[in-house]
């Protein structure tokens, strides 16, 4: 169980995928509460942000009102209008010229009696300002205007210490305003008065009852999480602003979230599976190759192994193994060469370069079999240099060695390629020759004897002539190879003895008459 690394790798991949899927599934299942909680937190944060923005807007409008209040020309004109009785148009022209750029919905100048001195059509605004001034010192408040709820800022104007009246400017809280502020969140804004929605960025909620409980309200079957946005000068009779987000929208977010989780799970699992398969494949292929190669090596083979691009550890290992095999092959070849050299030296006579007696024993069974198979006559020519001891005694052993080497050369030149020449020891040589007739050996022997006799060697300007006696034995086919060799050597030896006894430098073929003669014992050769 999991004993191989491939199995472990596969197991780890499956384990990882399972872990990923489990984690994402857990996140998916338990994220609903977390998301709802986060949505509530975001709602509070958005409410705070909106509160800050609206506060800034209130202060901005008040700042504009104060800017108008502090303008000396406005003060002078106001004086002329209210105290001298000059026409209001002059004040209107001045206001338009110097403050026409202000982003205000409506404006009105009130005299000290609270009567509108400009824009009498804005008498409602003048009344609202007057009413508010009676109740509060706050220069900012909200009032219902003809086009909707308005933010009102007012400031008292005086000139050289003489109170002149009041300037009031407004900013409309319409649908455009709502949409501007709604941009800060994905929820909705509700302007509520007396528990009824007056204006909303969700038009279908307008005119509906608005009675939130525990910061939530159900409208049109939808649950909204709501937060109050405090407005300046707020009281029970003034409108209230609420920011709300429907739980369905939150759950829609959750659904989007879950879809993302699911997509991630599928994509992640597939990616891991593919990655695992790729890794397993990349791991498997070189591993199998290595295993086959090692199996072959254990069987004694040293197979060739291709090189891979070294992109990973396995490929590097394969390449190192390939190099190791190459190195082993080279060593093996070296050993083979040395072995061949050793074998050759074991069966070769170092002085003459001819085969030695050891090789005779190796090759004879093969030749014997060949002769029997092809019904050829296998002759054994036993040669012995005549008077070789005298040469040694007269010229020394070095010259003797030269004579033996010369003899070897004569034999090589005289014999056919199919003949086998052996140095049996001392000045004694053996030739195994396959021929069609028994006379083949005789002819070869005569040729050798003749060649040697005619080719003396030169030593210190003196010619040293050599002759050889040759005895020829023939194999007997009824014997096995070993016995045949013993017999052949015996017969050739007998014939050589006879040649020596007959005066040397001659060839004698073994016959039965020679069977009882003594072996060659002439130490003088």
């Amino acid at each position: 169980m999991l004993t191989t690394y491939r199995a472990r790798l596969f197991f780890y991949t499956i384990l990882l995928i399972t872990f990923l899927v489990a984690t994402l599934a857990y996140t998916y299942i338990y994220s609903r509460d977390a998301i709802l909680e986060q949505a509530r937190y975001n709602l509070s944060n958005t409410a705070r942000l909106l509160t800050g923005n609206i506060k800034m807007e209130e202060n901005g409008l008040l700042h504009h009102a104060e800017m108008i209040r502090d303008d000396p020309r406005i003060q002078e004109y106001m004086y002329m209008v209210t105290k001298i009785g000059a026409e209001e148009d002059a004040l209107r022209r001045l206001f338009k010229r110097d403050f026409g750029w202000l982003p205000v919905e409506r404006f009105v100048f009130l005299d000290l009696n609270g009567q509108p001195r400009l824009n009498t059509k804005n008498a409602d605004l003048a009344n609202a300002v007057q009413e508010h001034m009676r109740q509060s010192q706050n220069n900012i408040f909200y009032a219902q205007g003809p086009r909707g709820l308005e933010l009102v800022a007012w400031a008292s104007i005086s000139w050289q210490g003489v109170p002149l009246g009041t300037i009031a400017i407004t900013h409309l809280l319409d649908r455009h305003w709502l949409s501007q502020h709604q941009n800060y969140s994905s929820g909705h804004l509700f302007i509520e008065k007396y528990n009824v929605v007056q204006l909303s960025s969700l038009p279908e909620s307008e005119g509906k009852t608005f009675l939130p409980r525990s910061n939530s309200i159900v409208m049109n079957g939808t649950v909204y999480q709501v937060r109050a946005i405090p407005l300046a000068g707020e009281n029970i009779s003034t409108p209230h602003l609420w920011h709300g987000i429907s739980e369905q929208e939150v759950l829609k977010q959750l659904k989007r979230h879950s879809q993302i989780i699911l997509a991630l799970a599928i994509f992640g699992s597939l990616a891991m599976l593919i990655m695992g398969l790729i890794i397993a494949r990349d791991f498997n292929r070189p591993l199998n190759q290595l295993m086959e190669i090692t199996r072959a090596v254990t069987r004694g083979a040293l197979p060739m192994m291709g090189r891979a691009v070294e992109t990973n550890e396995i490929n590097i290992l394969s390449n190192r193994f390939s190099e190791m095999l190459q190195s082993l092959r080279e060593k093996q070849e070296e050993i083979d060469r040395a072995h061949r050299r050793l074998e050759e030296s074991a069966i070769t006579d170092s002085l003459t370069g001819l085969h030695n007696r050891r090789y005779l024993k190796q090759i004879f069974p093969q030749l014997f079999a060949q002769a029997q198979r092809e019904t050829h006559c296998l002759s054994g020519l036993m040669l012995d240099l005549d008077y070789f001891k005298r040469i040694n005694d007269q010229y020394g052993h070095l010259v003797g060695d030269q004579c033996l080497a010369h003899m070897g050369e004569v034999l090589k030149e005289s014999c056919r390629a199919s003949d086998y020449i052996f140095r049996m020891g001392g000045e004694e040589f053996l030739i195994l020759s396959l021929s069609d007739t028994t006379q083949g050996g005789k002819i070869l022997a005569e040729k050798i004897r003749d060649t040697l006799a005619k080719n003396p060697i030169t030593y210190k300007q003196a010619l040293i002539s050599m002759t050889t006696s040759i005895g020829i034995g023939l194999t007997e086919s009824q014997l096995d190879a070993e016995a045949a060799l013993t017999t052949l050597l015996f017969h050739a030896d007998k014939a050589l003895y006879a040649a020596k006894n007959n005066g040397r430098n001659q060839v004698i073929i073994y016959n039965n008459a020679l069977q009882n003669t003594s072996s060659l014992q002439d130490t003088t050769s």
Binding site: Y79, M80, K83, A86, E87, D89
Partner: protein
């Protein structure tokens, strides 16, 4: 290590860097030429209304005097006015030839204190302005004074129009005689409930804003055709040079040039040209100004040194 060549190289670099090479710098040469031209210029500083006259004949003056003339005073609101003219005059030196121009007469004490010479140029009518929709085209000088005093507070007092009068004033140079003082000699006499402005442009704007407004400004002010104002007659007389000469138009001020007690000959020549030259007469006619000097006398005429 041989440091000789290195030290020689350093000395050479320092020499090349700090050697004065002005002859090869065209920028420096141009700059010097401009500086020289400015240094050699005659400089006039002062009130807007007088600046208009000098600026109009500037080319003629430069030709006549043979010097460049630089004038400051287009924007009196930006700190250039009578006081700046007096200050520039006081700071005149041999190498800095300056003169001033003022829109109001100076007292003898101020002339003495500032060590000035005053060169009267022209009398400029003070225009009485009303809104163009105002049906009144003529007021007596007493009515004008009464209105500015606040004795008359409604146009109903001089016409049938029942509209409150909005007085607009520009009471600068309060300590100097002349100027708006032909209307009322003391600023304290003016109606307290009034709009006081700091420039002629603001004056025109204020009068244009109120249909019941009345204001004043010098004749050299260049009006825009779109300004909703009009110039009314006083005592049945239009604000012309002729009516100033024969005394029919009562409101005026005197525009003058000023120098220190040792003016350079070129400055004197320039002012003399302004006082008596043909070009100046032409511009005076354009604005209905009454020149205070005869044509081209040999020396600056009517110089007041005390």
């Amino acid at each position: 290590m041989n440091t000789g060549p290195r030290i020689t190289g350093i000395y050479l670099c320092v020499f090349i860097t700090f050697f004065p090479w002005p002859a090869f710098s065209t920028d420096t040469a141009d700059h010097s030429a401009t500086d020289h031209e400015n240094d050699n210029a005659l400089m006039g500083v002062g009130a807007h209304f007088a600046w208009i006259l000098f600026d109009a004949i500037k080319a003629d003056l430069e030709t006549k005097v043979g010097r460049r003339v630089i004038l400051f005073g287009e924007n009196s609101m930006l700190g250039v006015g009578c006081n700046a003219g007096i200050k520039a005059t006081r700071q005149a030196t041999q190498s800095r030839e300056t003169f001033g121009f003022i829109c109001c007469s100076l007292s003898d004490e101020e002339i003495e204190k500032e060590q000035l010479i005053v060169y009267p140029l022209v009398k400029e009518p003070i225009l009485i302005l009303t809104h163009k929709d105002n049906p009144v085209d003529n007021l007596s000088s007493d009515q004008v004074r009464a209105i500015f005093r606040g004795d008359l507070a409604s146009w109903a007092d001089v016409d049938e129009t029942d509209k409150p009068i909005v007085v607009v004033t520009r009471l600068h140079c309060k300590k100097r005689p002349g100027h708006w003082k032909t209307i009322l000699p003391d600023h304290k006499e003016f109606r307290q409930e009034r709009l006081n402005v700091t420039s002629a442009a603001a004056m025109v704007q204020r009068v244009g804003d109120f249909r019941g407004a009345i204001g004043h400004t010098g004749a050299t002010w260049i009006f825009d055709a779109k300004d909703p104002i009009k110039i009314i007659m006083v005592d049945g007389s239009r604000p012309t040079a002729e009516n100033l000469r024969n005394g029919k138009y009562p409101f005026y001020r005197q525009l003058s040039a000023i120098t220190n007690r040792n003016p350079s000959p070129d400055v004197v020549k320039l002012i003399n040209e302004a006082q008596t030259g043909e070009a100046f007469r032409k511009i005076a006619r354009q604005y209905e100004l009454l020149p205070l000097n005869p044509m081209r006398p040999a020396t600056p005429a009517n110089a007041v040194t005390r």
